[in-house]
């Protein structure tokens, strides 16, 4: 995604911005909306600062500042002019002036800032949400830029298909499955550490443990490409003898039946090796309810809530023709 340089920090005025009224000159009323927004933005990586003309002590005694203190990275509360303070703030944060948004209710302060430091984006508090949606990147891990762009195109093209099978068939999905691929050990370990939702047992492995599993057992790793690009390594299955100890998929490739295609490939591989049966395990956690019926859906028998055996001679699963293997 090509776009203008993203902003990194928001620097707030206090009086009539964080609260209604002037501190030190009477009661103030906290603006709960903006306070909640600040906390939310700070948690998503936006740097928050204060630049206001007040007595520092007055500001620090407010309930607002006590509540926000842990979210604030930099403060200049004094009677110097704000452009001067802003230069210091940029220096202290070690970011460019063009990475800063300045929020002040007073037109005078915004004009002075615009005149002295035009690189800083000066806005009225009412423009805060709009500015954040345009100038920042809050998406973080959930939607890494490239993945998001690909998935977004995917979701968009899903609109033009009424039948989901048509849609999936048009995606040119290629599943690349490798067994005990040592070059992938770091990523495999990372996936076992990070994946919570589509994870049948949620057993975490260090890189050393994955290396050991590869020596003793079969560690399957899955990468998926489709017509929009390469999704990278997004699935792991670890089979110990006749037992599936780990089966997980990154949530960004869910909703396409890939989980069944991956499991089906593993089962066929085990059949080639002469196995006659396999048992899947589901270990319930607060986050993995969605996979409670995964093995049953494929056709495994349910022994109890945790164990699901399958005799290969009784396997009736029919793979959808949407996938190619490589």
């Amino acid at each position: 995604m090509e776009r203008h340089k993203l902003k990194k920090a928001i620097i707030f005025d206090c009086d009539n911005t964080l609260w209604e009224g002037v501190v030190g000159e009477g009661d103030i009323i906290p603006d709960k909306g903006i306070i909640a927004d600040i906390k939310f933005f700070a948690k998503r990586g936006v740097i928050i600062g204060i630049c206001s003309k007040n007595n520092s002590q007055d500001v620090h005694q407010t309930s607002v500042m006590k509540e926000l203190n842990v979210y604030i990275s930099v403060k200049r509360i004094n009677w110097k002019n704000k452009p001067h303070n802003m230069r210091e703030i940029a220096k202290e944060l070690n970011i460019g002036l063009d990475a800063i948004v300045f929020v002040d209710d007073m037109e005078f302060e915004r004009s002075l800032m615009e005149q002295q430091l035009p690189e800083v984006l000066s806005i009225h508090p009412d423009e805060l949400l709009k500015t954040v949606t345009e100038q920042f990147d809050l998406s973080g891990d959930m939607l890494k830029t490239l993945q998001y762009q690909q998935n977004y195109k995917r979701a968009k093209s899903a609109e033009s298909f009424t039948d989901i099978d048509d849609f999936l068939a048009s995606m040119n999905m290629v599943l690349k499955i490798r067994v005990n691929d040592e070059s992938q050990i770091p990523r495999i370990s990372e996936l076992t550490q990070k994946t919570n939702q589509f994870n049948l047992t949620t057993i975490r492995y260090t890189e050393e443990q994955i290396t050991r599993e590869m020596g003793w057992n079969r560690v399957y790793s899955l990468s998926v490409t489709d017509k929009f690009g390469d999704n990278g390594l997004t699935g792991v299955c670890i089979v110990c003898g006749n037992f599936i100890g780990t089966f997980l998929l990154s949530c960004r490739i869910l909703g396409r039946g890939i989980e069944y295609a991956f499991l089906d490939w593993v089962i066929k591989d085990l059949m080639k090796l002469g196995h006659k049966e396999i048992t899947g395990r589901y270990r319930r956690t607060p986050k993995n309810k969605q996979v409670a019926t995964f093995y049953s859906n494929y056709g495994f028998k349910k022994m109890n809530e945790e164990y699901f055996p399958l005799l290969f001679s009784e396997n009736k699963y029919k793979l959808k023709p949407h996938f190619q293997y490589e």
Partner: protein, 76 residues
């Protein structure tokens, strides 16, 4: 609260409408992952007959931010 947005969010995240409020965010809704997020974007575009600019899609991660972007798009 915008009822249409509330309805779309409930649909996208597969939960009852009364569980969506102005404080709903990807921190408060358990299944707000990338897939559900994109479902919501597609549903919002259909419901309001708008095109949400790509650079804003990733930032629509709580009710207020969604509401802000939708209002921007409608008033254009």
């Amino acid at each position: 609260m915008n009822k249409k947005i509330q309805k779309v969010m409930a649909q996208a995240f597969e939960i009852p409408e009364d569980q969506i409020n102005i404080n709903s965010s990807l921190d408060t809704l358990e299944n707000w992952d990338s897939i559900h997020h994109l479902r919501m974007i597609v549903f919002l575009e259909r419901e309001f007959d708008i095109v949400i600019p790509d650079e804003k899609v990733g930032n629509m991660i709580n009710y207020k931010l969604i509401n802000s972007v939708i209002n921007e798009c409608i008033n254009k």
